[in-house]
């Protein structure tokens, strides 16, 4: 079976610095975590997949089709939903507009109503500017905005950043809901507890390369390894 997403020996440079140094990964349905300390290249990888960062070498395939070098809007239309780090809510758009303006409806798929059903707080504030929401609500809006494009693959970049633990718990149960659908999920995280609670497979990034790609259980069982890769344990 073709993997949903396949990244093959990806290299990205920012000026003279070699940020991604040959990253490869394959993922199937379910939730895959990408973890690693700050500055290891996690967000760069996401940007490269979305076409927002230029790739020097290597390829990205979505369901077997090469998407490297396509403009971001075509990559999005081919079925990747993007929830960026820092949420990137549009100050000039209302909550409701966020959930409608880029929607690509499919029968039985995600739409604004379905998102409101999951997050009633968003419905209550549907005419307000997205930036008037609390951090947690903004995160739900950022996820909802990506969901209504009905992606095959949803990439979330540090969704738990800056959120209170009780909100992170909500995020965990929401991720469980998403895992019931046939959407593939990528979770880029620094919050190990959160990542471990929702994902089975994990990729650990260390200075532009994956240093570990296997199950979360095996990683956490090996204290020497967790200490070396992520500085805990």
């Amino acid at each position: 079976m073709t993997p949903i997403l396949k990244v093959e020996d990806l290299h990205v440079y920012y000026g003279g610095s070699h940020v991604l140094q040959g990253v490869s990964m394959e993922l199937e349905r379910g939730m895959t975590a990408i973890i690693g300390r700050n500055g290891m290249g996690k967000t760069t990888l996401v940007n490269a997949i979305m076409g927002l960062a230029p790739t020097r070498a290597g390829s990205v395939f979505l369901e077997g089709a090469r998407i490297t070098g396509l403009p971001p809007y075509l990559i999005a239309r081919k079925g990747i939903g993007y929830v960026p780090q820092g949420r990137k809510i549009f100050p000039s758009l209302t909550v409701d507009e966020h959930l409608r303006f880029a929607a690509r409806p499919v029968p039985g798929g995600w739409d604004a109503e379905k998102v409101y059903g999951l997050f009633p707080r968003l419905r209550e504030r549907f005419r307000q500017s997205g930036t008037n929401l609390s951090g947690g609500e903004q995160q739900m809006l950022a996820i909802g905005r990506a969901l209504v494009t009905n992606p095959k693959l949803l990439i979330m970049d540090e969704p738990s950043e800056g959120l209170a633990p009780v909100i992170v718990d909500q995020l965990i149960s929401f991720c469980e809901t998403l895992k019931q659908t046939d959407m593939a999920l990528v979770l880029v995280e620094q919050n190990l507890t959160f990542a471990r609670a929702v994902s089975d497979q994990v990729n650990v990034m260390l200075t532009g390369r994956f240093a570990y790609q296997d199950s979360f259980e095996a990683l956490m069982a090996d204290h020497a390894l967790t200490h070396q890769l992520i500085g805990v344990g």
Binding site: P71, I75, R100
Partner: protein, 287 residues
């Protein structure tokens, strides 16, 4: 009393004209981060095309429309052939758009010569109406009405349509908008066409009461840039506010202390930026 009324009306109507010209500039500026130094010449292209059409056909309205459409086409061709190559490099953008300014300016000089021209309005518009306090030229009132109508139309476009949502989202965050599947390049092209149309048609309208000549583009560009920066880049409401402010300052100082007219406009710009670095209604300011 009469005098004061006329000075204020002149300021307001000039503000209307500046708004028509600057509204396109602020959208292009806000969305594409392109400092389009060719915007002033778009005004002149519109004015001369409108003048020619009006002379050949005798129709003022046709002149305004053709001036707008031809300028939009010129803007479109420049965008797809040249501007797209330098997008994102502000130094090259500035040099390129300034260069285009100079070239078109000389072409205009070659074709039309350097004598100041005027677009001639139909007989029934070349009159004045009684506004109670004083009589006032109808053409200027018409321009104000058209500016207000245009402002409302633009507001509805930006607030109520899907394209408007794309534009607002694009002004906020281009990459994020693209990453949701919006073809932002197409949105840019639309905005550029629209900006060209607005600048060109305002050239014909403005040229009906303000005579124009090669070189006038620099004046219009300077005023439009000040309007855009005072109002806040990318903000239509800001452009309206900025245009009104610049129009009034220009008219009041020209009537009282003409030598200080330019200084007062830039003084106002400095004061606004000192308190609101992003302009009156720009990003980062409260909306």
């Amino acid at each position: 009393m009469n005098q004061v009324f006329i000075i204020l009306m002149n300021g307001i109507t000039y503000g209307g004209l500046l708004f028509m010209c600057a509204s396109g500039l602020t959208l292009v500026f806000g969305l594409m981060q392109v400092v389009n130094m060719s915007h002033g010449i778009f005004y002149l292209v519109g004015a001369y095309v409108g003048l020619t059409v009006q002379q050949r056909t005798g129709s003022w309205l046709l002149g305004i429309l053709t001036g707008g459409i031809v300028t939009a086409l010129v803007a479109f061709l420049l965008k797809i052939s040249l501007f797209e190559r330098v997008l994102g490099d502000s130094q090259r953008e500035t040099l390129l758009t300034l260069g285009i300014n100079l070239i078109i300016s000389d072409v205009i000089l070659a074709i039309f010569g350097g004598t100041p021209r005027n677009v001639v309005a139909p007989e029934r518009i070349r009159t004045s109406v009684d506004l109670g306090i004083s009589r006032y030229p109808l053409i200027r009132i018409l321009i104000l009405i058209i500016a207000v109508a245009e402002g409302i139309a633009l507001f509805l476009l930006i607030r109520k349509t899907r394209m408007g949502q794309y534009i607002r989202a694009g002004v906020d965050n281009k990459d994020m908008t693209a990453a949701l599947g919006v073809n932002i390049k197409l949105v840019f092209t639309f905005v550029f066409l629209l900006g060209g149309f607005l600048a060109g048609s305002s050239g014909v309208l403005g040229g009906t009461y303000l005579s124009f000549t090669q070189g006038f583009d620099a004046t219009i560009l300077t005023y439009s840039l000040v309007v855009v920066i005072i109002g806040g880049i990318g903000s239509l409401g800001g452009a309206a506010l900025g245009a009104l402010m610049v129009g009034l300052i220009d008219s009041i100082t020209k009537a009282t202390i003409p030598n200080l007219s330019m200084i007062s406009i830039f003084g106002a710009l400095m004061v606004v930026l000192a308190f609101r670095p992003n302009g009156l209604l720009g990003k980062g300011a409260k909306r």
